[in-house]
Amino acid sequence: MSLETPGVTAVAAAPRRAEERVSRGLWSDAFSRLLRNRPALVGLICITAFIGVAILAPVIAPYGPYEQRTGGRLEAPSAAHLFGTDLLGRDMFSRVLYGAQISLQVGVIAVLMALVMGGLIGALAGGLGGWVDSVLMRVTDVLLAIPGILLAIGIIAWLDRGMLQLMLAIAVTYVPIFARLLRGSILALRESDYVIAAGAVGASRLRLLVRHMLPNALTPLIVQATLILATAIIDIAGLGFLGLGPPDPRTPEWGTMLVDARRFLQTAPHIVFFVGGAIVVSAIGFNLLGDGLRESLDPRLKR
């Protein structure tokens, strides 16, 4: 004898309004929420700038990334060279811009690789269960036990330096995170009413997984991927800093540039400042965006 659920008595009234909600869709709904989230908006702006700069680097940059003697050695910032120049007289502004290209390219591909590998492991583990699950989860445990950067270092030591190796090394360190995340969502979804219902009407296991569970498990994956992009940018720079970055020394990779910049910490501290700043700003962007996405996509956080 409960009065507590007026909604139940009002079922008949509900549909129209509910329809309105649904028609706006999960994504546009999330997007509008995202736009109302001020930090996330800042993140979105950072990221848009970052991606824009990466894509438009050839247009914006006043000089080519390899072009030497565009100015003097280790010049301080000026109108001609917004971020100053390095030892070889290369325009640091242009190099930082092109650096965004490298970071974005390596970062995105690495995270996609991790997403695919981790997703596959997670889907198999969560979808099939049983011994497959146990084995795959132990594999992720092993990967998790090795500190990320050491794992990446080890992989590069094993495979030698190279762009592809770099991406792979970064990717592998994130595989367990995605695998666990997807597995977790799938396990939760497996118990959900609609999946059970779909199973009851005879949908195959694969169909259940692909049609019913994956789309619903996607949201946390996207949030996580955004957050991990921030980490990936930092990790790429870290490997570059350790001298394990792209094999071509001229590549304007931020970490590699920092190694050079570091030598002039006293003479030309602005180089460390600008290169480091670029890393920090893009990482902050992805972090803010990731947090914002989480807040706007996670229905539990709806207020």
Binding site: P39, S134, R138, V139, D141, V142, L144, A145, I146, P147, G148, I149, L150, L151, I153, G154, I156, A157, W158, L159, A230, I234, A237, G238, F241, L242, G243, L244, G255, L258, R262, L265, Q266, P269, V272, G276, I279, V280, A283, I284, N287, L288
Partner: protein
Amino acid sequence: MLKYIVRRLLATIPVLLGLSIVLFAFVHLLPGDPCTAILGQRQTPAACARLRENLGLNDPLYVQYLDYIGGLLRGDFGASVINSKPFFDEFSVRFPGTVELTVAALIFAVGVGIPLGRLAARHAQGWIDGLVTAISLFGISIPVFVLGLVLVLIFGVTLGWLPTQGRIEARAGFEPTTNFLLLDTALAGRWDLFVDVLRHLILPAIALGSIPLAIIARITRASVIEVSNEDYVRTARAKGLTERRVDDRHIMRNAWLPVTTVVGLQVGGLLGGAVLTETVFGWNGVGRWVVDAIGNRDLTIVQSTILVFALIFLIVNLIVDVGYAFLNPRIRYS
């Protein structure tokens, strides 16, 4: 409780096994001829034969693996390919440096991160909260090596307040015994050097601790806010307890639980970050050693370092989990 610990221990075994297989493959399944891959052109027939013998490369793979495991169980972690020194000879000299650094960073991260998180939670949505959120955002977004360089430039080179490299004033000529310099200087009664060691620790610990600090502050804030909204906190207030008592006894006792787990997980990140921090600060630890070893393609050193770091990570998290169980009566009494 005991059952829980045993179950937790048993669960570690397959991970250890997997780890050993991965690391075994790391050296024994190198692409190409192992002699060339490991020794490069230094290979003389004699050196190559020695290497093959040392690694047992002439045996079938499973025998090699069993030998490797057998060696590990006997405490034989292999020797440097470059100078034949047993792994632990040099590791034992370098490891204390890494331990001091990571522990200092962890203390910094926990010691500052938790109060910051509590502060933010208490003033949730206010400007203090915003500031803490900004700090932690910055903390997770700034790489250790960038922060390290900036700290060196400001507090070392420009202001001259703190040393920029190494673990102890070289001039002092202090002869360590255990290489845990804080311990050694204290045991020797050299409190001046003890302070000096602490001063050397400050900048690297801040650089290394910044990411965990940010993460810990975030999780503490979230956890405290979540617990603060729990009914039993309202109950505690309704009983007329002082705010302090509500905070310490009712909120923190519960908020600790997720925080401990996260702190445990930070150990992996700290050990990894130590590699970069030690490079920036010329810190004589395992991290810098392993970077050098990779430069030298001294794969057994890399292999065993990864193994030891992974073991530490597993052990720390085992301890944390047991501690968690101990803190949490729902697990303790089930």
